[in-house]
Amino acid sequence: MYKILSRTNLTDIIIKMEVEAKRVSDRCLPGQFVIVRCSEDGERIPLTICDYDREKGTIVLVFQIVGASTKVMAELKEGDSFTDIVGPLGMPSELCEMDIEELKKLNLVFIAGGVGTAPVYPQVKWLKEKGIKADVIIGARNKDLVILEDDFKNVAENVYVTTDDGSYGRNGNVCVCLQSLIDEGKTYDKCIAIGPLIMMKFAVQLTKKLGIPTIVSMNPIMVDGTGMCGACRVHVGDEIKFACIDGPEFDGWLVDFDEAMRRQTMYKTEEGRKMLELEEGATHHGGCGNC
């Protein structure tokens, strides 16, 4: 079960895996996620479903190494298996629930940042299969961190790559790119932004100004992913929502990003320590200076 059929490094720290997960691939839709564990006592790690093949019974996961658990996950090779994969979790993207004819009338733009580029892919692919066009802005810090550009070219109407340092594509972050597209005469009726919280925060500030309703995908800390713990609480307007059952996609105009960013750092010190232990092994005693 949960065998890894293929594994590719998209960048030094972003890894793509195709994994067997029949029950997930049978029913999942774009926007949903899974929770995986890669060892017997491993942490439960939420990851968005980045593609799926119902016939083969597989899903594609794309993840970035950010801490101890994703580091352990990165050590899995082709032929290895995940200990657990559960899903699909969360609600499918709002787009999947909308009327196809209505959707065809809309000018859609996706803003994809960093590893968040991967979860955008199944949405654009799904739209393409339904004959719906969409533009995609891919943002990355530099040329080496741009991922999935070719895949997007097959499914999106226009792909705009932009890098913070200008080393590839357009110059500047995703907000600069969206603004210049608008300045160049593009009009959009709906935006879907997926990426780091800080990117989504600024993207939403801009789309508010531009009057483009925006969906964002939240990635709070989670434990069970089934509504049982409330770790994933997010303020959306006046309401507190559980991202794992009500989301993970929400109306970006209403999300409290500052709170979400603060909550994501809840275990930072403890996680940092775990990462250190892992890197330095048993020799790490907290740096007393004598060891």
Binding site: G87, C229, I240, R262, R263
Partner: protein, 462 residues
């Protein structure tokens, strides 16, 4: 061994101040000698009142007589006819309001220690590899059970004994429901007790498929129509935590008891080496007064914090079991009673720094007979804490009812099911345990699983 017939044979426990620093089991249980001595107190009543208090009608005097005579294996066979999880029940059932509450010995002295005797027999059976017996040959008829808590395990075990081909679908990566994610190690050891009892259910032929969230990974309709199951039992529990809706509840350092306990129990974060983190708190307020609040408080204490229980009514109204409150006090938990939080206050970085409370007084009893607390005006004060754990109860998760055609729920989101059969509004679908009653007890959930197994058998045999 000398026995005072009016008093229970005392059971050995870990010293309070020692156990407050570890996660080992608090109670050691009886030795054979102690168990036989305690068993000798039973009057073997003809019209045994204790059995009337037992939701699964264990033949209590029957198994106690076997202990008295030293036939522990026979005692186990008697218990396992009625209960699939005796080692669990012996540890966590509220015997004082059930079997022991009705025991004749209890009129003049102390009731027979039925729970501790049950635990003794179950532990003996585990040590000696005794297993429950199958009653019928396999009949190949498939039944699905959703959830692997006490209700699901019981229903599955009973159906398997009758010969059915049973699969349990469990959302989490490990089976056991609240027994693994909620109740802490120091009250209910996971590997030594819970895992073993689940092995016994599996030994009857029950399959357990983990990582299946029914409603998302598969629906009940699909189980019935595509996967060939003839009936479904829903034992999905009441896992959705409530919050107070007071300001500050999304500050860093505010958790539901479910999150805190799940991190510690299911994810084992009480162990240093676990990759799942848990907050290292200095001073904790646990809001609520039930068993779950006691478990969260005693867990936080063992992780090194000073812990306050903040509860809006008085000591007598605490809904937790007397034994749990007693243990909590012995270990040094501080009870701030008649106290109600109104706001959680954060520092400039958004971390909890205090909980603002008001003093309460008890008014007249309401319809439920409980005296309702009222805030005393102008009595606001702050308790400095870095962590707040909300333990205000839970309700059933609406996921299954939302995704199953014809399955009705009531105002409290509980699945509507017939009292003695668990039959729901959807044909072939049965339900029981916390999913039907709201948060209740292990043994009531087991009773419901048992009743439903019987009803499912009758339904299938037509």
């Amino acid at each position: 061994m000398e026995v005072d017939v009016m008093k229970k044979v005392p059971v050995r426990e870990q010293e309070p101040l020692v156990r407050a620093k570890n996660f080992d089991e608090v109670c050691y249980g009886y030795t054979l000698e102690e168990a036989q001595a305690e068993a000798s107190r039973c009057l073997n009543c003809k019209n045994a009142q204790c059995m009337k208090g037992c939701p699964v009608s264990i033949d209590i005097p029957g198994f106690i007589q076997q202990i008295k005579e030293g036939n522990i294996e026979e005692a186990y066979n008697i218990i396992s006819k009625s209960s699939a999880l005796p080692a669990v029940c012996g540890r966590v059932c509220p015997q004082e309001t059930q079997c022991e509450g009705k025991c004749i010995r209890g009129i003049k002295g102390e009731a027979v220690s039925i729970g501790k005797l049950e635990r003794f027999v179950a532990d003996y059976a585990m040590e000696h590899g005794l297993k429950p017996r199958k009653e019928n040959e396999p009949n190949g008829i498939k039944v699905a059970v959703i959830g692997s808590g006490p209700s699901g395990l019981t229903c599955a075990g009973d159906l398997a004994k009758k010969g059915y081909d049973v699969t349990i679908f469990e959302a989490l990566h490990q089976a056991g429901g609240v027994l693994v994610y909620g109740i802490p190690e120091f009250r209910l050891p996971k590997e030594r007790v819970v895992a073993k009892e689940i092995e016994n259910v599996k030994a009857l032929g029950v399959k357990i498929e983990t990582n299946v969230v029914v409603g998302r990974s598969v629906t009940i309709d699909e189980l019935l129509e595509k996967e060939g199951f003839r009936a479904v039992f829903i034992g999905s529990g009441a896992g959705l935590p409530k919050f107070m809706n007071i300001p500050g509840e999304t500050l860093n350092g505010v958790f539901s008891a479910n999150e805190y306990l799940t991190r510690s129990n299911l994810m084992k974060s009480f162990r240093e080496e676990s990759p799942t983190p848990i907050m290292k708190s200095k001073k904790v307020a646990v809001v609520g007064g039930g068993n779950v609040a006691m478990d969260a408080a005693r867990t936080a204490l063992r992780l090194g914090a000073e812990v306050h229980i903040v509860y809006r009514r008085g000591e007598e109204e605490l809904p937790a079991r007397v034994e749990e409150v007693h243990h909590a006090k012995e270990e040094g938990i501080i009870f701030d009673l008649l106290t109600n939080p109104v706001e959680i206050i954060g520092d400039d970085k958004g971390w909890v720094k205090a909980i603002r409370c008001v003093k309460m007084e008890l008014g007249e009893p309401d319809e439920s007979g409980r005296r309702s607390p009222q805030a005393i005006e102008g009595s606001e004060f702050d308790i400095d804490v870095d962590t707040v754990i909300m333990s205000l109860g839970t309700s059933p998760n609406p996921l299954i009812s939302m995704t199953t055609k014809g399955l009705e729920i009531n105002k409290k989101k509980c699945i509507i099911a017939e009292e003695n059969t668990g039959k729901t509004t959807r044909d072939g679908v049965y339900a029981g345990g916390d999913a039907v009653t709201g948060a209740a007890t292990v043994i009531l959930a087991m009773g419901a699983g048992k009743d439903a197994a019987k009803a499912i058998d009758e339904f299938i045999k037509g």
